[in-house]
């Protein structure tokens, strides 16, 4: 199979703008994320990260600008549309149903139905099949210790995060956006989640990661997209910058030889 460079781009955002009434919150966001890449989305409080994520999740419609998925321009006007396009957002508060069990969460709205035609029409669930699939998924993705029938509220924070990620994978997502996935976790749980992120990206998933932990970004991410007051001020390989330089970019300072040319190079 011949792969062109364009074929590799999973997500491309071009000059995205968002107004809330007359406040101009996103003021020209542009970046790309390739297949199998872990991209950090950085920016100070209020830089517009969550707004951007909500545009990708189909919760907000951008005022103007384009979002391309696998090279095709898309209007993401609902969470269902986002899901169909293979975009899944794992929110800080996880958006799991705490009262429901792990399997129920993994298969919510993606239930496997009974194969019998009549029962299938009724929406009768094939619980065995879902359990087997869930077991396989957990084993493949490093969630062995997680008890399938337990309500999610009884899992540890790291396990919940892992379930949320596995849910995204099971929902067919190949672009996974995460809002501070490890902020509330202890170091061992944090490592579990990081291992899973690495595993998913090595299998071709594109991960967009909002994080305030620059040390983690340096270890985990391939590229960093920096927002400042609603604009992209940098889209650079993490290897090529120091954490201090990233910090400077986040606070709106120009960084010698980094942001300006790299960014214009990308734009042209």
């Amino acid at each position: 199979m011949i792969r062109t460079a364009l074929d590799q781009i999973a997500l491309q955002v071009v000059d995205l703008h968002k107004y809330f009434e007359d406040s101009h919150v996103l003021r020209g966001i542009s970046f790309t994320a390739n297949r199998g890449e872990v991209v950090a989305l950085l920016g100070d409080n209020g830089a517009g990260k969550s707004t951007l994520v909500n545009c990708l999740a189909g919760k907000l419609l951008p005022t103007r600008g384009e979002i391309l998925i696998n090279g095709t321009k898309q209007v993401i006007n609902s969470p269902i549309k986002a899901q169909n396009l293979g975009i899944s957002v794992v929110y800080q508060d996880l958006a799991l149903i705490k009262e429901m069990s792990v399997v129920e969460n993994l298969f919510l709205n993606r239930e496997i139905m009974h194969s019998n035609t009549l029962l299938n029409r009724l929406g009768w669930l094939d619980k065995k099949a879902m359990e087997m699939r869930a077991n396989k998924l957990l084993r493949r993705l490093g969630g062995e210790g997680i008890e399938l029938q337990l309500p999610v509220s009884m899992l540890s924070g790291g396990q919940q995060q892992i379930v949320a990620l596995i849910r995204a994978v099971n929902a067919g997502a190949n672009i996974i956006v995460m809002d501070e996935p490890t902020a509330a976790l202890g170091s061992e749980q944090c490592n579990q989640v990081i291992r899973l992120i690495r595993l998913l990206s090595s299998q071709g998933a594109t991960i967009v990661l909002i994080s305030h932990n620059l040390g983690q970004v340096a270890k985990l991410c391939d590229r960093a997209v920096v927002l400042y007051q609603g604009q992209t001020v940098a889209d650079i390989a993490v290897k090529e910058v120091t954490q201090l330089e990233l910090l400077a970019l986040m606070s709106g300072k120009q960084c010698d030889g980094v942001s300006a040319n790299q960014f214009s190079e990308y734009k042209s």
């Binding site: 919510l108 709205n109 929902a171």
Partner: protein
């Protein structure tokens, strides 16, 4: 004692109370008719429409909606059936009554979402409106039902000694139980009731799900109305009107969350039967209906209290 109170959670409360009540009354009323199959079948017959109403409310609550209009829908459905029966027969009368119930529920759900007003308020409005409407429709008269097939289907008859009404109750309870435990719709109802934002984020069409919940609730309430009218062999504007408190008390003690996202079908059935037995036992012990009303109020508060405490822990 500590251990016992730890075991009596919101889910099991109704079972303990049920057994305790039966045992107490059996001792207190050992010389009366209380402990007889006939008396118990009678309780089952009398409470059948209320069980169905309580299951209807379970369905609404599962999606986080409260439906106060079920009592009024019971009266409306009974009256509509009674009015249509002489001319159009059992099929059309029942279908019209049931569809009307479903439509009122869907309307409640739609309006509450459209206006972003809690369903509690909307259905309170619907309830009062329908209470007035059934008075107008019936002219405050009760309408006798003479249609034999209707009475055989919904009334107080028996098949091989089993009351038809018991079969209805069990049939509906089993069906709704299956919906919540084995069917996709049940999952979506519970997910919507437990955490509407998360359900929406996972692509569940929560608007549709909530309207379906309210519509099913209205449909089941209408069915309760048919059972009520069938048992009474007549329809009256007061049918079901005063049962809302019984339904709420039964649901609360049965372990269904009044906040949504959790149902307990068998707990609810037992909850209604428990209140039926309490009523029956109190009457046989010589207490008046005032005491029964006070008791329902107490049950509601105690059960809700225990449920909320269990939630916090």
């Amino acid at each position: 004692m500590m251990k016992l109170s730890a075991q009596v959670t919101a889910n099991t409360l109704v079972y303990y109370t049920f057994v305790l009540t039966v045992v107490v009354f059996t001792f207190v009323l050992h010389s009366s008719a209380f402990f007889s199959v006939e008396n118990w079948l009678n309780i089952v017959r009398q409470t059948a429409p209320i069980v169905v109403m309580a299951i209807a409310l379970n369905v609404a609550l599962s999606a986080g909606q409260l439906d106060l209009s079920i009592g009024a829908v019971v009266a409306l459905s009974g009256l509509i059936a009674a009015l249509l029966l002489p001319e159009y027969g059992v099929v059309i009368a029942s279908v019209v009554a049931l569809s009307l119930g479903g439509a009122i529920g869907a309307f409640n759900g739609y309006l509450s979402l459209r206006l972003a007003v809690p369903s509690l308020i909307i259905t309170l409005g619907t309830m009062v409106f329908l209470n007035g409407f059934v008075r107008y429709l019936s002219g405050l008269e009760s309408i006798p039902i003479l249609n034999k097939p209707f009475l055989a289907l919904f009334g107080g008859g028996s098949i091989w000694g089993v009351p038809t009404l018991l079969l209805w109750v069990l049939g509906i309870a089993v069906s709704v139980y299956c919906v919540f435990n084995y069917v996709q719709l049940g999952r979506h109802l519970l997910a919507t009731g437990a955490n509407v934002t998360a359900a929406r984020a996972m692509g569940v069409n929560t608007i549709k799900v909530r309207i379906i919940a309210m519509s099913l609730s209205g449909f089941l309430a209408a069915l309760a109305g048919l059972l009520y009218a069938g048992r009474m062999q007549s329809a009256r504007y007061t049918l079901g009107e005063s049962e809302l408190i019984t339904v709420l008390a039964a649901i609360a003690i049965g372990g269904c969350s009044l906040l949504g996202g959790k149902v307990s079908i068998w707990g609810t059935v037992l909850g209604v039967w428990l209140i039926g037995i309490l009523n029956n036992g109190l009457i046989l012990s010589g207490f008046s209906s005032d005491v029964q009303m006070m008791m329902k109020g107490v049950i509601l508060i105690v059960a809700v209290g225990i449920t909320f405490r269990a939630r916090k822990q």
